[in-house]
């Protein structure tokens, strides 16, 4: 594995907010097809790392490289188009839009009909919209959301909103999918179903996935490799077994249940 070049690489990245170093010297490599976990106590900097990888913040140190191309300084929408898509820890759906339209928005970058064609209602508009609709329904079916596709996103129950966010992220057709605590707020049954779903989409779409999870036991089951963040720094990486027995990790999670 070491011989291959990573699909996504963070090289010594860090960011400072005013005086606060939220993240520093983080190096991380994701190889094609991997499912990697990112864990750490609350406030460790996990979401901040996602924000750096997706261009929400520009790193104040280090480099982010996707497929050999440096992403530093690109706006989020360009990074998404290059192949990194994400979900948010605090769900960010387009509440007033229907479930179907939420997914269509993510597919927008792949639509080929121009603004002029839509205003003039040229045949290419109808063809393009038709294609978007078919694609969007395809994604919704995988997530069993097709029955509620005309509901407003904000009216869905919580578990479905979480699933819709993943469906929407997938519709952007990423190479790398970043999931920020997708199981937060779910009951054990829902969580189990979600983990199966993540494993399934990874196979189906040949995805590389980075999964943030606060609860260690969850990622242990499905991730091949795990990175552990604490106070803005990587304190461990390795297989679930290696990480679980690492004294630094145990210390970071002191007082929390380690299984």
């Amino acid at each position: 594995m070491a011989a291959k070049t990573p699909l996504l690489k963070a090289e010594e990245v860090g960011i400072q907010f005013g005086g606060l170093k939220a993240l520093s010297g983080v190096t991380m490599e994701l190889y094609q097809g991997e499912l990697v976990g990112l864990i750490g106590p609350n406030g460790a900097g996990k979401t901040t790392l996602f924000n750096l990888l997706t261009g929400v913040y520009v790193p104040t140190e280090g480099r982010i490289v996707l497929d050999g191309e440096t992403l530093n300084g690109l706006p989020p929408y360009k990074i998404t188009r290059k192949g990194i898509s994400r979900t948010f820890q605090n769900i960010r759906l387009f509440g007033e839009l229907s479930v179907l339209d939420n997914v269509k928005v993510a597919y927008h970058a792949h639509a080929r009909h121009s603004m002029a064609s839509s205003i003039l209602r040229l045949p290419s508009h109808f063809r393009g919209e038709q294609e978007m609709e078919e694609k969007a329904i395809e994604f919704l079916k995988i997530f069993q959301l097709d029955e509620v596709m005309h509901e407003k996103a904000k009216n869905l129950p919580y578990g479905q909103q979480r699933r819709l966010e993943i469906a929407r992220a997938l519709a952007a057709q990423p190479k790398v999918l970043l999931l920020d605590e997708p199981a937060a707020g779910m009951n054990p049954q829902e969580t189990k179903e979600l983990m199966n779903l993540i494993a399934f989409i990874r196979e189906r779409f040949a995805l590389t996935i980075l999964l943030i999870e606060h609860d260690m036991s969850l990622v242990m089951g499905i991730c091949e490799r795990i990175y552990v963040l604490d106070h803005g720094q990587l304190i461990a990486e390795g297989t679930p077994e290696q990480v679980r027995s690492n004294p630094k990790v145990i210390e970071a999670y002191l007082g929390e249940e380690v299984s």
Partner: protein, 324 residues
């Protein structure tokens, strides 16, 4: 067949619109509609154009623009200069009005819309005032006493401009490009993360909205014989804003209906400006109390009709079939 089903509602609306055009044209030609009613009708149409164009910016894209009368003024004066100073035909004046207002929109929009946050509100507020004060001080366009403009606005012109405004804005809205704008209104960070070029769509919506405000300005200038900077002050911007808010942010037909109703109210209260403000305030308070989402919420008039529901596969408003 599927295309026909999808566009049936559209064609029914078009036929109704042209029937309305023909009836009004006949009423005007036969002299049945007196000048007072024709004036009110034209003013209604102009206000609907202003309301619908601002609706695209505020209601659809969620960008708070509070100087819409500034673009209206740019259009009015640009067209008047074309027809009165440069002796160009009215059509050239109308087109110039739209293009000039759109350019003004780009100049204001590009720098302020690149930023997240409400910079646009400040920029447009300033713009509206700057335009008014500039016009006051430019002798070429008559300063405070304004410009006299030949009457050229006819019902076919008014109808055609109104029709195109509504058609373009509703076609834009009901497409992937309009959804991109709505996604920005709903959550700009998420829209960005889903690959939407947010700056591009904010600027596009703002430019289209400014363009049609400019067109409305041309119709206005060539109907009321004289234009003065005082016609385009902050109160006019405020009026347009009220149409959009009262109509229900996000509903094109709501904005249009509000514009029509309030034009009627203000026409009858023309000579009592104080009463007009009081009635406006009361209407607003009542709406806030009883319909805080505006007259129409985000719904459209057309969703009241069954064929539209069938064509869109049902709206399922508030249905409880969300199993799982």
């Amino acid at each position: 067949m599927a295309t026909w089903k999808r566009t049936r509602g559209f064609w029914v609306s078009v036929i109704l619109a042209f029937a309305f055009f023909a009836v009004v044209q006949w009423l005007i030609a036969s002299g049945t509609l007196n000048v007072f009613y024709v004036n009110t009708l034209f003013f209604m149409a102009i206000n609907v154009m202003l309301a619908v164009s601002l609706h695209l910016i505020i209601g659809i894209t969620g960008q708070f623009s509070i100087g819409h009368a500034g673009f209206f003024a740019v259009g009015a004066y640009a067209s008047a200069v074309m027809t009165m100073k440069l002796q160009m035909p009215f059509a050239v004046g109308v087109l110039t009005a739209g293009v000039a207002a759109m350019l003004a929109g780009l100049i204001i929009g590009v720098p302020s819309l690149r930023l997240k946050g409400d910079y646009l509100a400040i920029a447009t507020l300033g713009f509206g005032e700057i335009v008014r004060i500039a016009l006051l001080n430019i002798d070429y366009v008559g300063g405070a006493s304004g410009m006299t403009v030949t009457h050229m606005t006819t019902w076919p012109w008014v109808f055609a401009c109104l029709f195109v405004t509504i058609l373009v804005i509703s076609n834009f809205t009901n497409s992937t490009h309009g959804r991109a704008c709505i996604s920005i209104r709903e959550d700009e960070i998420a829209a960005d993360a889903m690959g939407i070029n947010t700056t591009y769509y904010k600027v596009a919506a703002f430019a289209i909205g400014s363009f049609f405000a400019g067109i409305a300005g041309a119709l206005y200038a060539h109907h009321f014989y004289i234009i003065q900077p005082s016609n385009f002050g902050f109160l006019k911007s405020f009026d347009i804003l009220i149409f959009v808010v009262l109509g229900g942010l996000g509903s094109l037909s709501g904005a249009a209906v509000a514009a029509i109703l309030l034009t009627i109210v203000s026409t009858f209260l023309q000579n009592y400006p104080e009463t007009r403000m009081i009635i406006y305030s009361i209407v607003l308070i009542l709406v806030m109390l009883y319909r805080p989402t505006g007259l129409m919420g985000t719904k459209e008039l057309s969703s009241l009709f069954k064929w539209r529901k069938a064509a869109e596969g049902g709206m399922n408003h508030g249905s409880k079939n969300t199993v799982a």
